[in-house]
């Protein structure tokens, strides 16, 4: 049993390290800085979608206010660095923290509603944030937005004026995000979130403070979405009201659904695909939303688990065929010998 568990962890660690190496090497071998740019954009969106995944995938609450926090994060940091001449390295954590604070009362009020009402409520919150950003000319620049947002200040000898240097910056944050999410989701806290998604009434009967957990997830989601917003603003060096609009939320939603909600790899896979397709099909831009719309409907009906979920299911089915004993979930590449303790090795991924 010990070996089984250690083997599984080794394989997992190995895969992650391999992916990390690929990610680190990529910009050095990419033939064109445009290809690096596309990946930077997907990484930034992935960070936001990881936040989104926590509240929508793991907690099962369809919050449609997410782009609002993305926008708030972007604008706030833009203003801090441009108007207050703050250093990026101070602005980033400050913005993320403040955005999280703002999300607390919003979450508190929003979660008094349930189901569809919650979705509509958060959608309206998102719209209000978007409208305010759009109309508050004096602060946000209205429809023109903020132009000329500075890139991150130099860190000692490292400067961030190239796409490649920004790539590594964003990659670092992505790795941190994935790390935090993985830890969170595999812990008792993660289990609690999922129990609420399954049946919040039962969870409450078992003594779980559902409201507190919902607000916690909402706050964490906003924190990471804000970080994504900040990185976005300082990379593109321009931010307009569209970043906080409903379409942005729908982009997050689509990326999450394609990739696979309530999974660790889902947000990244989904963002890569979604951004890749968007950038790649620039010429077919008009068809993008047509396809996206149809995709949303198809996914929700036929592939609710997205790509990652589908792959997991496939792997599970294959393992069931080859393993002698009942494997309750994801184990390792080799058939597990642990019988009833196979359950202990099941990780909620």
């Amino acid at each position: 049993m010990e070996t089984a568990e250690r083997n599984r962890s080794m394989w997992k660690l190995g895969t992650y390290l391999l992916l990390l190496v690929v990610a680190i090497v990529y910009p050095l071998v990419a033939s064109n800085s445009y290809y690096v740019h596309v990946i930077v954009m997907s990484f930034i969106f992935a960070i936001a979608v990881y936040g989104f995944n926590l509240i929508v995938g793991y907690l099962g609450q369809l919050s449609l206010a997410q782009a609002g926090f993305f926008g708030i994060g972007a604008y706030m940091s833009g203003l801090f660095t441009m108007k207050l001449h703050m250093s990026f390295w101070l602005s980033l954590p400050l913005t993320a923290f403040l955005t999280m604070l703002i999300s607390l009362p919003i979450g508190f009020i929003s979660f008094r509603t349930k189901g569809n009402y919650f979705a509509i409520f958060t959608m309206c919150v998102g719209i209000i944030i978007n409208l305010v950003i759009e109309k508050w000319d004096s602060v946000t620049g209205g429809n023109t937005g903020l132009i000329g947002i500075p890139q991150p200040n130099n860190l000692g000898p490292i400067s961030f004026d190239s796409v490649i240097s920004q790539y590594y910056l964003v990659l670092a944050f992505l790795v941190i995000t994935i790390f935090v999410m993985t830890r969170l989701v595999n812990s008792l806290v993660g289990r609690t979130f999922m129990s609420i998604r399954n049946s919040s009434d039962l969870a409450a009967t078992l003594g779980i403070n559902v409201m507190a957990n919902k607000i916690l997830a909402f706050a964490i989601a906003s924190f990471f979405t804000a970080i994504a917003g900040v990185l976005y603003a300082h990379y593109i060096r321009f931010i307009g009201p569209d970043a906080s609009g409903l379409n942005m939320t729908f982009d997050f939603l689509l990326s999450l659904l394609i990739g696979g909600q309530a999974s660790i790899a889902g947000p990244l896979v989904g963002s890569l695909l979604s951004t890749g397709l968007t950038e790649g099909l620039q010429s077919l831009q008009e068809y993008r939303m047509v396809v996206f719309g149809i995709l949303l409907i198809l996914i929700v009906k036929f592939f609710p688990m997205g790509i990652v979920g589908g792959l997991q299911l496939l792997r599970f089915k294959l393992m069931k065929r080859f393993a002698k004993t009942d494997v309750a979930g994801i184990a390792q590449m080799k058939p597990s010998k642990g019988e009833s303790h196979a359950a202990e090795n099941k990780s909620i991924n």
Binding site: N116, C124, L257, I294, I297, V300
Partner: protein
């Protein structure tokens, strides 16, 4: 004072449009428990159909409205059969997401086919009438009158026909209704047909006053949702009352507070009301 009455009329006009759209939405939500976010985009398609009928084929205004109603009815049924019916037994949020998908699809297709330019449906009731100190275009009066006529007709249908009673029965208890032999599928289709007809007329009536463009659906459907959340899902009087309240609030707000932020009225209203009463204004106490 004249300004006030002027805006009153404007508010009633706007409210009439909102009512018709909200009525369709509340029927769909109340009877079928489907949060049809694509309804606003159906309305948008209706506006375009009327526009093209009138400008390309020179068809009469009211006839164009009827054609629009037919087209929308077909489209509505397609959406019901292809998108919502397969998902009827799943979790709530799936229907919501599917509706969002339909919405994106419709808007993008409209943009693709007809471009993003603003269009204007030619108005035939341009004459300005003077009542007391107010100057109103005939169109606005037509809107209000037509809306009232339609609502009246709907009420007659629901209260005094057998099919109408079937719809009401389903709104109260879907399973029970099918047990007593009501054909759930027929009712579902019929609900969408009615909602689509209402939307088509709303779009045609609004066309000459407001502009037509692909993303006009989002605003109106979100506001319609605000209305039915406030007025009560499935409540017809609620939708009517809510529609006029919102229309008047926006009109007055635009005049006396700020034009820029007038769109926010609906959303702030929803946020305020749901903050105080999370289950909606007319939710029944089950605890």
């Amino acid at each position: 004072m004249n300004l006030f009455f002027q805006q009153l009329v404007n508010g009633l006009t706007l409210g009439s449009i909102y009512c018709l759209v909200a009525l369709g939405l509340t029927l769909i939500y109340g009877i079928m428990e489907v949060p049809n976010f694509a309804h606003g985009h159906l309305y948008m398609v209706g506006a375009y159909v009327t526009f093209f009928m009138m400008t390309l084929y020179g068809i009469n205004y009211w006839l164009a409205a009827v054609i629009s109603a037919i087209v929308l009815a077909v489209l509505g049924v397609l959406i019901e059969r292809l998108v919502f019916n397969p998902l009827r037994n799943g979790p709530e949020t799936n229907k919501f997401v599917a509706a969002l998908g339909a919405m994106l699809f419709l808007e993008a297709t409209a943009r693709l086919l007809w471009g993003s330019d603003y269009r204007s449906i030619p108005g035939i009731y341009d004459k300005v009438i003077q009542i007391g100190g107010i100057r109103v275009t005939e169109q606005r009066i037509i809107v209000i009158v037509a809306a009232v006529v339609l609502m009246f007709a709907l009420n007659l249908f629901l209260k005094h026909t057998i099919i109408g009673s079937a719809l009401m029965a389903m709104a109260q208890n879907r399973d029970g209704a099918s047990l007593v032999g009501i054909n759930v599928n027929m009712v579902s289709i019929l609900t969408f047909v009615i909602a689509s007809i209402l939307a088509a007329f709303a779009a045609t009536l609004a066309g000459p006053i407001f502009l037509v463009y692909p993303s006009m659906g989002t605003m109106i459907v979100t506001k319609a949702f605000v209305i039915i959340v406030i007025g009560g899902m499935g409540s017809i009087p609620g939708a009517v009352l809510g529609g006029y309240i919102l229309g008047l609030a926006e009109s007055m707000g635009a005049t006396y507070i700020s034009t820029d932020y007038k769109d926010i009225v609906a959303f702030v209203l929803l946020v305020v009301i749901l903050s105080v009463k999370p289950s909606g204004m007319f939710a029944k106490e089950t605890k």
